[in-house]
């Protein structure tokens, strides 16, 4: 667990809009008061996004730390100097508070909206928080009357910093989660310019990395070499599936490709593993062992291997009782946006029950978007895309400000559709600046409290569900489709169909390291389960059934929030409708 001072420092930096290198944090934390250190470092870092160790040294050496305390107020929010001042103290106390507030309620009993607003122990800390509420405006307007009148303090700070209201011992919502760590984010790293070679590079990278996972299991011979091997030899090969076809007699030919060429592999229909062919997707990586035919032109497959997640995989857990809410597909701006459910959810987060929920991970589709399907404007509640994000930001403000929020984009969002999708543009981030949420690409690996969460919007799930047999992947059991992706160690294996690929210098869609949690959305169905100890969660949505869904008979699961215990990886799903 990182030291308390480190965490506060990171918090301070994030509240100012900076990420920080680990080394920089250490340097700064050792320099004294985290508030001042952060301020100094921020000054030093200037326009950069990341505070580097260089910045930190500059801050320390340059005597920036000696500055007068007035400069504490961040320039963009000058109206709350008091709260900023108080923040450091509260933050210090926070961990102890959290330790004591461990009172899980069985999920079924909860209907968060009612519970939250009427909760008895959320009545103090009035003045400051009240003034904040007024100042922060619309964030609370959408709530039920109970929230505003009886328990003003239940809405902690709305401005994104630790709340003074929690100075009282029994107050809730005093969270001070350490910053998540983000890996495999394409944002700012998209170097592709749409050239042929980049496509080649992307797929070669896919092959290299996935083949690396299989190397231990088979003794790979290049396709070119196998082509010249005499008939009857034993052969083993790792390759991307280039083609799958059936023969007249019902056997299967799987064409495998590596960087030297392709080789056809015959899977006899009476083999025990033959049914696995139904699960195959084009362009996933496979290893096979078998014997060459007498003429050497084809390999009879004896065994088949997927990169897969090792059964021995041991997930990491948090060192303390802390929870994360995994949600997705908010679709603000849609006429079907489930406002009431969302409000109940946001309100619940302010209750003591939700005290341990320090992280909110959102898996894409913040808004309904524009031009996603024909004549969409006729079904939009908010037609302007920027207004949609503004409205989303308002919804986000209803969530306690001291939570760590991470967002990836989805296919309805105003970013490129081709995957990997970089995070929201500056312009959109500015709109969604509430609570200093973190923005990262789709997919990204987000590590919170040591637990790694692979966040992917889930666009490929449609195709996986369409291609694979019902029992392996269906809309009613979306997590089973996710198992397949884990097994293939790639979030969107099949190229050329629905999936759109933007060529980059590496294949960001490969699941390089086994995550502890795999979080997707997109299909608007709730489903979760464990695959080789990896928790797969498809988190439903906040949009009621649309006309389109009605026409194809999809009944979305809306208003559910899966709450994950990061210390046990147990999950509770809360319902807010």
């Amino acid at each position: 667990m990182p030291q308390e001072s480190h965490r506060r420092l990171v918090e301070e930096l994030t509240s100012r809009g900076y990420n920080a290198e680990r080394e920089a944090v250490t340097l700064l934390a050792n320099a004294g008061d985290p508030e001042l250190a952060a301020e100094a470092a921020a000054d030093a870092a200037g326009d950069a996004f990341v505070v580097t160790s260089e910045h930190a040294r500059e801050a320390i050496d340059g005597g920036l730390l000696d500055r007068a305390p007035e400069s504490e107020a961040t320039p963009d929010e000058p109206s709350y100097p008091e709260s900023a001042e108080g923040a450091a103290d509260i933050a210090e106390k926070a961990p102890t508070d959290m330790g004591g507030a461990d009172d899980p309620t069985p999920a079924d009993e909860l209907l968060a909206g009612e519970d939250g607003s009427g909760h008895p122990d959320v009545s103090s800390g009035a003045e400051i928080s009240k003034s904040q509420q007024t100042a922060s405006g619309s964030g609370v307007e959408g709530k039920g009357s109970g929230g505003e009148d009886s328990s003003p303090s239940s809405t902690t700070a709305d401005d994104g910093r630790p709340s003074p209201s929690s100075t009282t011992a029994d107050a809730v919502g005093s969270r001070s989660p350490p910053a998540p760590e983000i890996r495999n984010d394409v944002t700012g790293q998209s170097t592709g310019t749409g050239e042929y070679e980049e496509f080649v590079g992307t797929f070669q990278d896919r092959y290299d990395r996935l083949a690396g996972l299989l190397r231990g299991r088979v003794n790979h011979r290049p396709a070119e070499a196998i082509q010249s091997m005499p008939g009857g030899s034993d052969a083993e090969m790792i390759g991307l599936v280039d083609d799958i076809r059936s023969t007249a007699s019902g056997h299967w030919i799987v064409e495998l490709e590596d960087t030297t060429g392709t080789f056809p592999c015959l899977i006899m229909k009476d083999r025990a593993f033959a049914p696995l062919v139904d699960d195959l997707l084009l362009d996933e990586c496979l290893a096979v062992q078998g014997t060459l035919a007498d003429d050497g032109g084809i390999m009879f497959v004896d065994s088949l291997h997927f990169p897969d997640v090792p059964r021995t995989h041991k997930p990491n857990t948090a060192d303390r009782h802390v929870q994360a809410a995994l949600i997705s597909d908010v679709h603000v701006g849609s006429q079907e946006f489930a406002q009431e459910a969302w409000d109940r959810f946001a309100e619940w987060l302010h209750t003591p029950e939700a005290e341990a929920v320090e992280y909110l991970l959102i898996g894409g589709d913040m808004v309904e978007g524009v031009g996603v399907y024909p004549d969409q404007d006729e079904e939009l509640d908010i037609v302007d895309i920027y207004d949609q994000y503004r409205a989303f930001a308002e919804e986000l403000k209803k969530v306690p400000g001291d939570m760590e929020i991470v967002m990836i984009p989805g296919n309805h969002d105003a970013v490129r559709l081709a995957e990997p999708q970089p995070a929201f543009t500056e312009e959109l981030r500015d709109i969604m600046s509430a609570h200093d949420a973190r923005f990262t690409g789709n997919p990204s690996t987000v590590t919170v409290e040591g637990v790694s969460v692979l966040m992917y919007h889930g666009f490929s799930l449609d195709e996986v569900i369409a291609e694979l047999p019902e029992e392996k992947a269906s809309y009613d059991h979306p997590h089973k489709a996710m198992y397949q992706l884990l097994k293939k160690r790639h979030v969107a294996p099949q190229y050329g169909g629905h999936t759109r690929v933007a060529p980059e210098e590496k294949d960001y869609l490969v699941i390089d390291e086994v995550p502890d949690v795999f979080h997707t959305g997109h299909v608007h169905k709730l489903g979760w389960g464990k695959y080789h100890n990896v928790l797969a969660v498809n988190s439903g949505c906040w949009q009621e059934q649309t006309d389109f869904q009605k026409s194809v008979n999809i009944d979305p699961d809306y208003g559910y929030a899966p709450i994950l215990d990061l210390d046990t990886l147990d999950m509770t799903v809360r319902k807010f409708v």
């Binding site: 170097t191 592709g192 310019t193 749409g194 042929y196 496509f199 524009v370």
Partner: protein
Amino acid sequence: MREDDERYFERMEERLDEAFDRAEAARAQGYDPQTEIEIPVARDMADRVENILGIPGVAERVRELEGQMSREEAALELVEDFVDGSVGDYDSREGKIEGAVRTAVALLTEGVVAAPIEGIDRAELLENDDGTEFVNVYYAGPIRSAGGTAQALSVLVADYARSLLGIEEFHARDDEIERYAEEVALYEKETGLQYTPKDKETKFIAEHLPIMLDGEATGDDEVSGFRDLERVDTNSARGGMCLVLAEGIALKAPKIQRYTRQLDEVDWPWLQDLIDGTYYDSGGDADEDADDEAETDDGEEADGEPSEPEGPVRADPASKYLRDLIAGRPVFGHPSESGGFRLRYGRSRNHGFATAGVHPATMHLVDDFLATGTQIKTERPGKAAGVVPVDSIEGPTVRLANGDVRRIDDPAEALEIRNGVDEILDLGEYLVNFGEFIENNHPLVPASYAVEWWEQEFADAGADVQALRDDPHVDLDTPDPRTALDWADRYDCPIHPEYTYLWHDVTVAEYDALAAAAAGGEIGDDGLLLNRTDDVQRALERLLIEHTTVDDGEALLIPEFRPLLRSLGVTEDLERQWTPADLSERARTWGAEAGDADDAAVADGGRPSPPSADPDGGMAIRDEEGDSPDSSDSADPDAAVDDAITVEGRDDDHAAPSVALPGTNAIEAVNEVTPFEVRERAPTRIGNRMGRPEKSESRDLSPAVHTMFPIGEAGGSQRDVAKAAKDRTDAGRGVIEVSLGERECPDCGEHTYKNRCENCGGHTEPYFECDDCGIEVEPDESGRVVCPRCEWEVESPEERVVDLNAEYHDALDSIGEREGSFSILKGVQGLMSANETPEPMEKGILRAKHDVSSFKDGTVRYDMTDLPVTSVRPEELDTTAAEFRRLGYESDIDGEPLQHDDQLVELKVQDIVLPDGAAEHMMRTADFVDDLLERFYGLDPFYEVEEREDLVGELVFGMAPHTSAAVVGRVVGFTSAAVGYAHPYFHAAKRRNCDGDEDCVMLLLDGLLNFSKEFLPDQRGGRMDAPLVMSSRIDPSEIDDEAHNMDIVRQYPTEFYEASLEMADPGEVEDLIQIGEDTLGTDDEYHGFDHTHDTGDLALGPDLSAYKTLGDMETKMDAQLELSRKLRAVDETDVAERVIENHFLPDLIGNLRAFSSQETRCLDCGEKYRRVPLTGDCRECGGRMTLTVHRGSVNKYMDIAIQVAEEFGCRDYTKQRLEVLERSLESVFENDKNKQSGIADFM
């Protein structure tokens, strides 16, 4: 039939016989696949049915039955004949069913379309789960051309045959039922259906159909749910089946029921449930219905509030025609928008049958986008129409850059002033004939007041119209103003249309203001001089009153002011004789919404506002915003109320009490002010946009084909025979290996691929030898060739080595041609026919020499847009009265002897007018045929055409796509319009109407000599578009009955116009106006096609649409948007939106999607890969690879789309979609770490 009709047909058949004689002599020589002519003549429908089907005996039986019963009943009657074997020679039960079904479809489609042969593959007997047999009918895509009724009846016929044969019903399995539902939905998504049954409906039908519907896969997409079914051999949608089920059974259930009721053997009780929709689960359905009802009730209540205001009768605007707007094809008017085309009833002589009459001046003023034959998508009465020039209607009205407003009735004038047009205030009249309303079953819409209506009212009022017409000093069509006013005063008759202004297009307040302005004006020598204000100017422009701007734009001069003054209630001493208070409540509020009227009572006129509740629906306001000083806050729904007061306040001369004038339509006020009646000048406006451009071009395959001789890859991509013959191969110079059919000479036994034995001159026959066992097989009756021992199909084609060099030079020598006589001789890569029979190369050489090319069936064709014409002047057809007399025309339409070239003559049914391009092409074809006869067949030439006049009187084939029957036509003249004008019955005989349809003509002897079924591709649809039979004479009862709905009178009666004002059903007045149907079966069925309007020339206006003369898509789109700015009736922002929405966005989105899921291609060998090979290079040849979708093709429209969106003020929604896309493009195509610098970086 009258005697001269008989003479006409005999004369034509005489020429036909001459051609047949010559062609028979030629084909008898054995150079062609068959020694007989392969296009049999059908004298009637029964003949055609028999010939198309090739089932002997059908014609005779059809003729027997025809007199006794309807065609549908005859089809059912024939089933019995097939079953008991009295018709058709089928042994098997499935054969009998198949024959009966095909015959039924052929009968119902008049033996013209290809559906019966191409749309029904076979009928077969399969086994139910309980072991009983059932009937499966296997449909294919071309069944579409049969239409819903014939499709549905084919199933009924199959079932009738089934029950007569005692075969069990089909019992669909559950998964099959589900599959039908999934498949129909898939087909709808992929291809689209006219009517898509709900899943429940489809399942209900599938569950109850006693016949299994099956068919071949027509799409690439596969169903996801019910795949790999045992009795369904594809996972794709079966198009033919889907059509029959959805557009046939589901849509035509009531029609089928009529026939099932007549048949004891066939009982489809479930049809009633299908019709009633009672197949739903009762529970949910009831609720749904209840909801629906509740909604309708609410709606009605809202509409039917007690105080429903009486208002002008108008058809509701319909905007469907604007859907799928295409870049480069302009909109001419938004729905029912003022300033758009004004509907006038009537039929011009080149009009009717889905056409629209437009003034040629309008065609020029819309920047030549409209030409004769251009298709327009229209608001009503139909969906689309072909444009025809009619100059006897009113032309457009424009405001010039100098402010003058003029009506342009002369195409030459239109061209002269075109560059100076500031705004097109009105597109002029738009002629639609009554028959269109019958055909489309569209309620009549209020008629424009026109001279033909006024004349009848004038006569009814007691005027001696005939005497006036004979008076040389009186012009009834355009009397001078004093006369017109005098007539209106003396007779109780509405004012002449010439002086009826468009009062319904100005508000009551504007009317009041204009009266005030007139009273404040002065009368000079040239006319009435008014102070120019925006209101006055706008009012005059909407009224379409011609005026000029004088005194540096300070004043407006109206030359013809007397009728205006009278209509304004202002005396010639400029004394205003009324005040708004004199108007009745009704007149003051006419046309205002109910809400507005109520508001009027309480309005207290606080806010100044310009007139805005105008009949334009607020659209034209924006145009004026720029120059109107107080228009900043227009668009206020009840602004008219305030405006009334404002106007009133301004008008100080009248100390009248202030009265609200919320009415948006001044016609009632005018009628209260004037002593005579003023009718609505143009109550119905018709919006439309351009559809397809007109067409007139030769049909060339791509690449063009001169000779149907296979040369493989030898001739390069040009398929150059000379090059192939010259190039050296391993086997020698010009020796190539190609696949060709094997034939055998019955006389000497010689084996060859040629049609004529080189050994003995005998005619060879296709030779079938089983590849495996080597025995010779003969084709069976159905044409299948199956080896009796190996039980597989045997084909005659085989790979063989051909000395093309020798072949080519022998051919040249045999007809005495040199290589220099043509530029290139193109062959084909391979033959697509079953027996791969080649054509003698001599034919190709002569085609190349005369620069004509061949269609897949060996004929030379010319395509053109169809337009109707019922009367012509020899002069306009570039021919003479003398020539016409030679063709058998004796008198003009009035019965006067035909003496002068400009006399109007009624066209005979099979006579056609060729466009210049076709004439030129036909001349070359004629030369080719003559050369062919002389040099190849050694016969006398037939045509000997020196100049194009020589083509007059020659016979051609007319033939439409998707049909299999040609109609004989006779050339009578030529036109510079790029269309094929012919009698509407001629087009209907080909199963075409004239709403932009196009089809082709062939020269008669070319078809007889060169067509062979042996050339037709051996694949689905191969026999479509091929003249399997020809009709030598048109029987008006046996054509598409759409043509019978054309009106054929000289004048529509007053009652008709009055009925139109009430939007009566067209059926109510059908008896008043004679239509084609009324003369069917009488002596007059070929005669008396009168018209109400004349036109100066069939080819007025531009010869080609600007769409065809402008260069690339961007230029066209610029012109389209430019025009949208000029037209008052068009909202240019909407046009820009639609262009972006329908053209740019799909292009951008589609290409971006294509980019990120693209295939790659080898630059060297052309091999394609679904995904980049991991090797990077081509796996086949090691060559360099490239993308198939490049950045350039993805973002080519990005900048222009953004620019258009900006320039035309598109919605933020649209702009934002473009923004998001632009950023996506950047994100995909730009390196984050090395962004391309924009120009801004250097500023």
